[in-house]
Subunit: 199 residues, 4 copies
């Protein structure tokens, strides 16, 4: 058949991306078929190949674009002039807010790394490293300034990131606590963990 009335390439590609994101997050990359993705948006599996050359490209796109958006948004939002304690709190707030609004992307960014072919894996890892480096630098600066009493910034970075990203695993939109309350609770824990006095 010919193109459906009003369907436009870029639009279709986006619908594919969205469907794939949601399905990968729910069932995992390996367990989701191109047919399933197509069915979700009323398309035959074959049509997806007009927009993405392979299933692997689809996955890579989702992960790389997510990381790039994350980095870009952070780089746009951060204030390099802030002193360490304020910088740390700003990072924590940003991380929680950003990650909570794109749960599926975050989820597959952790879960589907091993389904990336090697070169794609390295690409995503490099982006993640760059993002985490932001927190690491804040911690290192604070340590140098004597406001954080941490003895190993890399380990602290991993600990804090893990703690923060873990929220996606249990957070429910209309749960007992609002996102703002959760934010304050985590700021409290992290501020304590790096040895800063409560503010």
């Amino acid at each position: 058949m010919a193109r459906k009335v009003g369907s436009v390439g870029a639009e279709t590609a986006d619908r594919v991306r969205l469907a794939a994101l949601s399905l990968f997050a729910r069932y995992g990359y390996a367990a989701v078929s191109m047919r399933q993705i197509g069915r979700e948006i009323g398309l035959q599996a074959g049509a997806i190949y007009n927009h993405f050359p392979t299933k692997q490209h689809l996955l890579r796109g989702l992960l790389v674009e997510h990381m790039e958006r994350l980095l870009a948004t952070w780089e746009c939002a951060r204030d390099e002039s802030l002193p360490p304690r304020e910088a740390l709190i700003a990072f924590v707030r940003f991380h929680i807010r950003y990650h909570m609004q794109c749960g599926p992307e975050v989820f597959i960014s952790y879960m589907e790394l091993r389904n990336l072919e090697e070169h794609n894996f390295f690409e995503v890892e490099e982006l993640r490293r760059r993002y985490e480096m932001n927190l690491r630098n804040i911690l290192a600066n604070g340590r140098a300034d004597g406001v954080f009493s941490i003895s190993d910034p890399p380990v602290a970075t991993m600990g804090i990131i893990a703690m923060l990203t873990g929220i996606t695993n249990w957070y429910k939109e209309h749960g007992r606590l609002s996102l703002e309350q959760i934010e304050e609770l985590y700021i409290g824990m992290i501020v304590g963990a790096v040895g800063m006095k409560e503010i």
Copy 2:
């Protein structure tokens, strides 16, 4: 053909479990085939079915048995008479040590939950809940006694567990830091996070 000389059921089942554990951890449940598991230990795929009725049973077994061992070991190791701060530190030490020695089990316990059929999922979740309840009780007791300044024990529980379990994602046996050093670093962060003064 027939049974190989010296082949014994329980032993073979264990070799299957081991191979499956390692492959699931590396490539994911959905991406690993029964043939691959068999090949790993010199068995035809079909022979696995002499020991496990389905692939799903294999996965469930790995997860349930891991959680049951974890719980049993903790219940045997814990000292209920310890005051909250010592109890927290004991839990942290236990969690890190236990989890570092069974990396693959821990990894698939987080990654493959969604590949469990519903009833198996509930079973594993219940075990996990019981384990986490131990930390939650410690935190709640410490809060009641006024030695921890946390305002929400459930959230603190999730934060601490995520932080601790995250170690498996980057820990390397012969890395820059020994397990003992990592242990001390995490104790430091967690003690700070719950508002206890450094010991």
Copy 3:
């Protein structure tokens, strides 16, 4: 790869049906594999699933469609105004002619009933019942009119149907007797069996 030049769905489906019919009749449903059906018509087994959702659907289709065609052809051919003796003879002629020209369908209709899933079985049974009811009504009418001396129309129906359908088991196209001769022989026996005087 992709669609072969000139391949059209409906045509392929028909070739599959035909191959399946012939193979099921020769070897039995359970003993015929999808690969075998595909091989018969130069298709991969998987391609069959573009046309039939399961092997069971294939079987059901063959049986149901055969029975529906049989019923429709009979309902179109019968003359309700005939008196019982002529009606019986017309039915016998119709049954023999129709059944001889679709031997495989008739054969699997008797042989593969037990390989139908329950709901499909009931569907086919109901169609068969409707067809047999035609003969039963003819016999009952003839008995009421006093032209047939049978004491139990249902039993007579089963006996006659079995006798007639049995022809498919031994009839050979170029055998000793022509179809017309066979027809006359069976009319003779059945006319005698129901107690009508020879015509």
Copy 4:
């Protein structure tokens, strides 16, 4: 494990035969597995091979032994001195009674012929031919004596056998009619079919 107390070879072989007969009749030879047969009688599949060299031998045994028993019983029961009309009626009575008491054997004798390997098929066919020859001779004698008005004994044989054997397809032990009643009804039809006057 060793032999179970009290189990004896011939006995076990019989239990296997019985289970196979019942399962083949219900589901068909190709659809029944050696494991299923074993399960039915509390045996591992492998143990069956102590009594029957292959699954095909099991089938062949059931069919050949059934036909041999049938022939032997008939040859013992028949009275060669009877005139044709009495001989025909005796055959009909014998056939119905014998076949009704071994429904599964009769059923698989018709259904599973095509699952016999060629040499086994010929063996069974020869036995069947010998049995049918009895009826054919009765019919031929009656025709020669002028008491039957059939023009083709072979065709009449096939018709009568089909009619009689068809009873197994619908007969139910506690149905509307007793076996004796059915017997009389069929004798009536067959006597009419061969042109004998009702007795």
